[in-house]
């Protein structure tokens, strides 16, 4: 079966209630969504998968609300962002997530040292800074898209990026990455 565009797949889900089309969307976007959560939770795979699952369920339930004003991936990442911050608020564990990062490192992959470094570096950032930094440097979104995903205005995003990058640069220098 030829690969359909996101809009065609969303239409099939919204109008014809075609679950196979939604299956294709999940397969296509599971990696970026789960990676986004892994970076926000500093490597907590179980929590990341739970939040990613909740994100896709919310996307499915609200798929008729997708108007195509932005790309499907931006719309999905906005849901992911809201799911993450709802979870943080409901657990009231923002501080725990920030401080317990070193304990929760993922350990089942070959490049775990790099992941540890990235998560340790991300742990130095405030949640909003971390979100902006990962959306730009890992997920590759431009500032206007980050603004749409997070609901912050462009200048707030820019200042989070600036502060976050300064902290990252200091961390990398302290750990000998500038040599």
């Amino acid at each position: 079966m030829a690969e359909l565009s996101d809009i065609a797949l969303v239409t099939q889900v919204a109008v014809l209630h075609n679950k196979k089309a939604f299956d294709q969307l999940v397969r296509k976007y599971q990696s970026p969504v789960r990676r986004f959560f892994l970076n926000q939770t500093l490597g907590d795979e179980q929590l990341s998968d739970d939040l990613a699952q909740e994100t896709f369920i919310k996307a499915y339930v609200n798929i008729t609300k997708f108007r195509g004003m932005s790309s499907f991936s931006t719309w999905l990442m906005r849901i992911a962002y809201n799911v993450f911050y709802d979870d943080v608020r409901s657990r009231k564990q923002t501080d725990d997530i920030d401080t317990s990062s070193a304990v929760r490192q993922s350990s089942n992959s070959g490049d775990s040292n790099l992941k540890m470094d990235i998560h340790a570096a991300l742990a130095l950032l405030k949640p909003d800074e971390r979100t902006c930094i990962t959306l730009q440097l890992i997920d590759g979104y431009p500032i206007d898209q980050i603004s749409k995903i997070t609901g912050m205005n462009d200048n707030t995003v820019k200042s989070h990026l600036k502060r976050g990058k300064e902290k990252m640069a200091n961390y990398l220098k302290e750990n000998g990455y500038d040599r």
């Binding site: 999940v26 896709f56 369920i57 440097l137 640069a169």
Partner: protein, 127 residues
């Protein structure tokens, strides 16, 4: 922040940006846990209602002797048709009626080609 710092940060995140997470059954888990939407609930109830009505119809058909009623209707219809034909033949005009063959052809084309085409087109569009 210098350009060197920016390059260093981009290099640091480069590998993380290329990381692809294997599905490993995630999609199946999501698909299994999807809730029933209101539209799906309506569709399911509608299907159940159709089945219920069908079953009630079949039961009533046998309870009230549906075959006899159908037979009666069939033979009654046959008798009525024969009666109508008889009346038509007896009272048919003896003078010739002129029929325009083009009109007949047009009517035939409308009934045999255009109507089936329209129906097929609408069915195709709906599907």
């Amino acid at each position: 922040m210098t350009d060197k710092d920016n390059i260093m940060i981009e290099e640091f995140f480069k590998q993380a940006a290329q990381q692809q997470i294997e599905d490993n059954g995630f999609t199946e888990r999501v698909m299994k846990s999807l809730p029933e939407t209101s539209a799906e609930r309506v569709r399911r109830l509608s299907r159940l209602w159709t089945i219920f009505c069908g079953v009630v119809g079949v039961v009533l058909f046998f309870v009230f002797g549906g075959w006899q009623i159908l037979q009666g209707l069939f033979y009654g219809g046959m008798r009525m048709m024969l009666g109508w034909l008889e009346v038509l033949l007896v009272t048919a005009p003896t003078t010739e009626i002129s029929v325009n063959p083009w009109v007949v052809l047009l009517l035939l084309a409308f009934v045999l080609i255009f109507l089936p085409y329209q129906i097929a087109r609408k069915l195709y569009v709906i599907q």
